[in-house]
């Protein structure tokens, strides 16, 4: 699948934003918010800013961005529509939560409820994003049970790292923020490795034989393509990445996205003051960059059944 930059930025940026919002909301709901209203202002601005940048980015790949509002209508059948509805609905509890925390300095009672609802909506939005991909049967590398937990955990991981970075900047770090970061990195790395293991060791039931129905007659090979230059299908669905490039990018993603942030998060425990904050921000930035690479690979390594009509033996 063609790795569309706008979609990759969207899922990475708003994933981190929804992750951060979810952690803040959960902490509010359980009455364990670490900081004061200034911490709230900065962390909620970062969360909502990342979400908004991501959502705006996602409209750039539309042929008619001015009609994007129509995407709220088909939530009964479409995961993309559900994502649209929930992503925008999240703003309501999130802004009320922000108003209580920042303007009134209140984070308990009804304001804690708004935090909890914000967290629920944030998780639901990321789940809808994952389900858009997981529900696509023509793409075997997406249509499997690894996709949803990967999206949820990577959003939680980048969110937790930004939370930990902000907490150390405001010197309100707690055992909770550190453990949340370390645990989600470990879980995220395990799930990502599991996903890669799965896609490397399984293949689609669809072949050139089933796509043409000519399988019973023997091996099916493309003899002549219908057209001499690339068409939309080949540009959009026929993206190929060399195996050695993929292997290199997986390593980059693992090191930048998981290994270094883990080490830096541990180091931040040992440091204090600006050194700890520096390590925390480096960890958050690196993991976001690593997830960006991971998201690019998620697209580039995905194979669509339409390629079976254009010379691929398996999808």
């Amino acid at each position: 699948m063609h790795p569309a930059f706008s979609v990759i930025v969207f899922t990475t940026s708003s994933g981190a934003g929804y992750g951060l919002l979810a952690w803040l909301g959960i902490l509010a709901a359980i009455g364990r918010l670490p900081g004061d209203r200034f911490f709230g202002a900065v962390s909620l601005a970062l969360a909502l800013g990342a979400i908004t940048v991501g959502l705006l980015s996602s409209t750039f790949h539309l042929g008619h961005p001015e009609r994007a509002w129509r995407a709220f209508s088909q939530w009964r059948s479409s995961w993309l529509s559900r994502e649209g509805v929930v992503s925008v609905a999240t703003y309501l509890p999130a802004l009320l939560f922000a108003f209580g925390w920042i303007a009134l300095g209140e984070t308990d009672g009804v304001w804690a409820v708004f935090g909890g609802v914000s967290a629920f909506c944030a998780v639901a939005t990321v789940a809808c994003t994952a389900m858009i991909y997981q529900s696509l049967k023509p793409i075997q590398r997406w249509s499997n049970a690894w996709v949803l937990p990967n999206y949820l955990t990577l959003a939680a991981m980048t969110g937790a790292l930004w939370l930990a970075a902000l907490a150390s900047l405001f010197t309100v770090s707690s055992l909770f923020t550190t453990i949340a970061a370390l645990a989600t990195i470990a879980l995220g790395a395990a799930l990502k490795l599991g996903y890669w293991h799965h896609i490397d060791n399984s293949s689609s039931a669809s072949t050139a034989g089933t796509a043409t129905g000519l399988g019973p007659l023997g091996e099916v090979r493309l003899f002549e393509a219908p057209h001499t230059s690339e068409n939309y299908l080949m540009k959009e669905m026929g993206y190929r990445i060399a195996r050695k490039h993929a292997a290199k990018l997986r390593t980059i993603s693992l090191v930048a996205g998981f290994a270094l942030p883990f080490v830096l998060s541990l180091a931040a425990l040992a440091f204090s003051g600006s050194l700890a904050a520096g390590a925390g921000f480096a960890a958050a930035l690196l993991s976001t960059a690593g997830v960006l690479v991971e998201r690019w690979l998620f697209f580039a390594e995905a194979k669509h059944t339409v390629t079976l009509f254009y010379g691929a033996a398996r999808a």
């Binding site: 059948s77 049967k137 669809s206 007659l217 091996e219």
Partner: protein
Amino acid sequence: MTSLPSSPAPKRLGLVIDLDICVGCHACAVNCKEWNSGGIAAPLTDLDPYGPEPLGVWFNRVHTFEVGEGAASRTVHFPRSCLHCAEPACVTVCPTGASYKRAEDGIVLVNEELCIGCKLCSWACPYGAREYDYDAGVMKKCTLCVDKIYNETLDEIDRVPACVATCPATARHFGDLGDPNSEVSKLVASRGGYDLMPELGYAPTNKYLPPRARRASLEKDTPAELAPAVPAGSGGFLAWVDRLLSG
């Protein structure tokens, strides 16, 4: 509405494509382009049509495959277009309601006024039936010539999709595949018509007829012996010409 019709009519219009007969002339693809360039999905934009990298919207593409090995191998021409599935995920994934399946005859269409050009429907289609129009910013697809098959200003014989009307080999048939007694359904039953990628569960309406088994006399490894142009030992004018040309 991109939810599928809750009580669809039994009528399921579609195509039956005979891979035994198709000669790969691409006339169906060309006539499809011609009709639909003026039909409800018009224009079928071409970018850089005379340049080095032409890029255009077509609803019908003819692939050619080689199947099997050696002398037993065969060349099969394979026209590919929308299969108007009974379970079209391209419709249900649409976030805007632009994609829909008609309850009355099962035709899958796009309302271009509602389409935001997110391209998700083309990802959801295993068969590559949908092509994005980069110029119009909306998705386009085969309409089964809905503006032709119901067009009462045309003679009844012409109320078939453009690809079917133009096929010089009669490799394409149009009809109601929901009616087991229709001509197309009988053809599918008698020839072992099949679905493409049945494992994905889209339940396509269109059916493909497999190439017929070869006759035993054609299975030899060597071409049939040709009779000699001049029977041996014959005399007369032909023998004289033969001697002259051989000498």
